[in-house]
Structures are given as C-alpha cells and as structure tokens.
C-alpha cells in the first residue's frame, strides 16, 4: 500500500487528469488505476473537484450560441446520414477526363490555324503576282488601244479628205532631173488646205543638210508652202501651209529649213491644173 500512496503523492494523477502527461505516463497511470482501486478512486476525486472548479468559474456563452452550435451539429448529423459521399467521386471523375480533351483541342486548333495562315500567305503571294501581271497586261492593252484609236482617228481624217468634194487631187510628176519621182497633192481652195500624201509618194531620200520644199505658183510667182523630208517609213497625209490660190505645185530640194525662193535647177517634181 506504501507504493500506491507514494504514487498518489507524486502528483502524476493530477497531471494525468489535466492531460499534461506523455503517452507513456498515460499508459502507466491507466495500468495502475486498473490494478489499484484506490488510485481509481483518487483519480475520480480529482476529476470531480476540477469539474466543480470549472463549474465555479463557468462563463455563459452568449444567447445565440446555443442555436448556432446545436444547428451546426444537427446539420453535420443530417449530412452524415442522408448524403453519402458519392457526389464528390463524380466530380473527381469529370476533372481528369475533361482536361486532356480540352488541351488537345487547343493544340490542334492552334496547329490548324498556323497551317491555314501559311496556306493563306502562299495564296496571297501567288494572287498578288497574277494581279501584277494583269496590271501590266491592262497597261499594255490600254497603250495599244490608244494607239489604235489614234490610228482610226487619223485614218478617218484621211478618209474625210478623199471624200471631201472640195479637195482636188493633183499628181506631181518627175522632172528630167528625177524622172521616177511622184508626189500626190490634195488641195482645197475653199478650206485653203494643202496636204501631201506621204504614203503615195516616191522621192529620192534627202540627206541631213537638205530638205524638200513645196511651192505653189500663183500668177507665175512661187509661194512657200513648207518643207518636208522624203521619209519612206511615213505613210501619213502631211498638212502644209495654206493657200487659196494656185496654178501649179512644185517641189525643189533646198538647204535644210527651206529657202525664200526656189532653186529652179533642183526641181524634183511639178504638176499643173
């Protein structure tokens, strides 16, 4: 019994009740208590006195606490009983399933858009090249079309001369100096216009220092009607200076720029009405 008394006196039982013991000490106290009823009784006394001490020092929690705490317990209780934790599992299943699916979709979508972008750029470049070619073609066609328009206008103009009854056509024939030479002159006294037909002329080519000069003979006097070159490539009707009167036309070879009076020895063609 001495051993039991000493154990009680040691103060370990008080610490045990206060929860201030190591697990080892706890096991020891519990073993002693089950072996010795006196220790069990002592523990009970200590617990009772501390319980009363706590009661003496009690503090009432505020009014609302009773309902709040009891409700939280009953909610807890209801949850435990009525709703087994199946729902949580469901959520767990969905998450890992969804994620790779989504990330794959974005990966492919990104790759697809990149490919689409590259194809679009290539297509754009090719279309741009075509467009430039077309633009060049259009420009050249426009130039050509302009050229034809000019040509048509010019020919209309030529035709109008031939159709115009006021024009008189005169064929100047070669002089003994140049018997093969021929030049067609169209003259309208009404409109005071003189044209020479370069497409229907046959004149020896002149050099750089000389030019042909057209003259009209009015009452025996020569009147200057302008200079021209015997250009074989030109096929146009060339308009010369105007005159209302003329008995005859003649062409002489003169120094470049023309002379004030004809050099009779250099007369190439001549024609009279």
């Amino acid at each position: 019994m001495e051993e039991v008394k000493a154990y009680i006196e040691s103060g370990i039982l008080e610490l045990y009740v206060l929860g201030d013991v190591t697990p080892q000490e706890r096991a020891e106290v519990e073993a002693m208590a089950s072996k010795h009823p006196a220790i069990k009784a002592e523990l009970d006394e200590i617990e009772k006195s501390l319980e009363l001490y706590a009661e003496a020092n009690a503090v009432e929690p505020s009014e609302g606490q009773r309902d709040r705490i009891l409700n939280s317990l009953l909610t807890n209780f209801a949850d435990d009983r009525n709703f087994p934790s199946i729902e949580v599992k469901k959520v767990d299943n969905v998450v890992p399933f969804d994620r790779p699916k989504q990330s794959n979709f974005y990966k492919y979508a990104f790759a697809a858009s990149l490919a689409l972008l590259l194809v679009s750029i290539a297509a754009l470049i090719s279309v741009y090249r075509d467009l430039q070619q077309s633009n060049t073609l259009v420009a050249s066609l426009q130039t050509q079309s302009q050229h034809f328009t000019n040509r048509v206008n010019f020919m209309d103009h030529e035709l109008s001369i031939f159709r115009d009854p006021s024009f008189k056509m005169l064929k100047l024939k070669g002089t003994p100096k140049s018997p093969a030479s021929v030049l067609m002159v169209a003259w309208s006294p009404v409109k005071r216009k003189v044209m020479i037909d370069m497409g229907n002329a046959s004149m020896p080519a002149n050099d750089q220092a000389h030019q042909y000069q057209l003259w009209a003979l009015v009452g025996g006097k020569p009147v200057d009607l302008g200079v021209f070159d015997a250009d074989t490539t030109s096929k146009e009707m060339k308009e010369m200076k105007s005159t209302a009167l003329a008995d005859a036309f003649a062409v002489t070879l003169e120094p470049r720029g023309g002379s004030s009076s004809p050099t009779m020895s250099e007369m190439v063609v001549v024609g009279k009405f």
Binding site: E14, G19, A54, A58
Partner: protein
C-alpha cells in the same frame, strides 16, 4: 449517455445545457476574443459529437474528456498563424477591455461559495492551478513562467486540488 451514442438531438441539447458554460469558462480564459472563443466552443462540440465513439467511461469522467478537447482546440487556435496576426492588430487598442472582461468573468458573484473558495486556495496554489487548468500551460511551462522548480510545481498543483476537494466536500 445512451442517447448520445445513438446521436439523438435531445442528447446534444442536454450536453450543451450541462457543460457549455463550464467549457466556455476554460476556452474564454485561454482566448480573450469572445467571437473567436465562441467559434472554438462550436468546434469543441463538433469534435465531441464526431469522436464520441472514442470516449469510454472506464477512462474517466465525461467532463474530463471534454475539457481536454476544449483546452487543446483553444491552444491550437491561439498558436495558429492567423490568430497571432489578428491578435497583434488588436493588442494595443483593446488591452484594457480585455482585462476588464477578464475580471468580470473570472468569478461569478451569483455562484455560492466562491468567496470561500478564493480564501481556501493560497495565492501560489491558485496561480499554478489557473495557469495549467485555465491557461493551458504544461507544468513544465508553468515552472518556467513562475520561476520555481518542477517538483514544487507538482506539489503545489496537488495541494491546490486537495484544497478544492476539501472545499467541495
């Protein structure tokens, strides 16, 4: 007790009515902030409720088991990081209020025999008992705090409880 084991509503209500004030007395001496102390009281009842199966009458009285749960939860709370931060902010402004609150709640005038109880316990006995029982100190920490040897602490603690037993008998 049987009703508690069957987890019936009436048992919880009885448990609350019997013990909430005593448990809250312990909790609110460890935690000065009333709102936090009330949260801990709720946690205490939740824990008691959920782990009631682990209590057996052979190990001791029900209140002893419950008060240890309450004390441990309260100590966990004041040692937790967020509570420390919160407390730092309030410390200066509310110190006086805390002290006043404490004075009001330590002894309830309407309870009989308190005056005699105070006279029964010697001051050194009371301070050690309150440190361990109400402040949640271990006896080693209490020895440090009061600057007395461990053996003395154990003796004083025992003598304090012996005095209590005499008083309540």
């Amino acid at each position: 007790m049987l009703a508690l084991r069957r987890r019936e509503k009436i048992a919880v209500e009885a448990l609350y009515d019997m013990y909430s004030a005593s448990l809250f007395g312990v909790i609110s001496r460890i935690i000065n902030d009333t709102a936090v102390a009330e949260d801990v009281l709720q946690d205490t009842f939740v824990k008691i409720w959920n782990s009631f199966a682990s209590y057996s009458t052979e190990k001791g009285r029900l209140f002893t088991w419950m008060v240890n749960i309450a004390r441990n939860l309260a100590i966990d709370k004041i040692r937790s990081k967020d509570f420390k931060n919160q407390n730092k902010n309030q410390e200066l402004e509310n110190n006086v209020t805390f002290i006043d609150e404490q004075r009001n709640t330590v002894y309830k005038p309407e309870l009989l025999g308190i005056k005699e109880l105070v006279e029964t316990l010697k001051p050194e006995q009371k301070s050690i008992l309150d440190l361990v029982y109400f402040k949640g100190y271990t006896h080693v920490e209490a020895a440090d705090e009061l600057g007395v040897p461990l053996g003395t602490i154990k003796t004083r603690l025992r003598m304090a409880i012996v005095q209590l037993r005499k008083h309540f008998n």
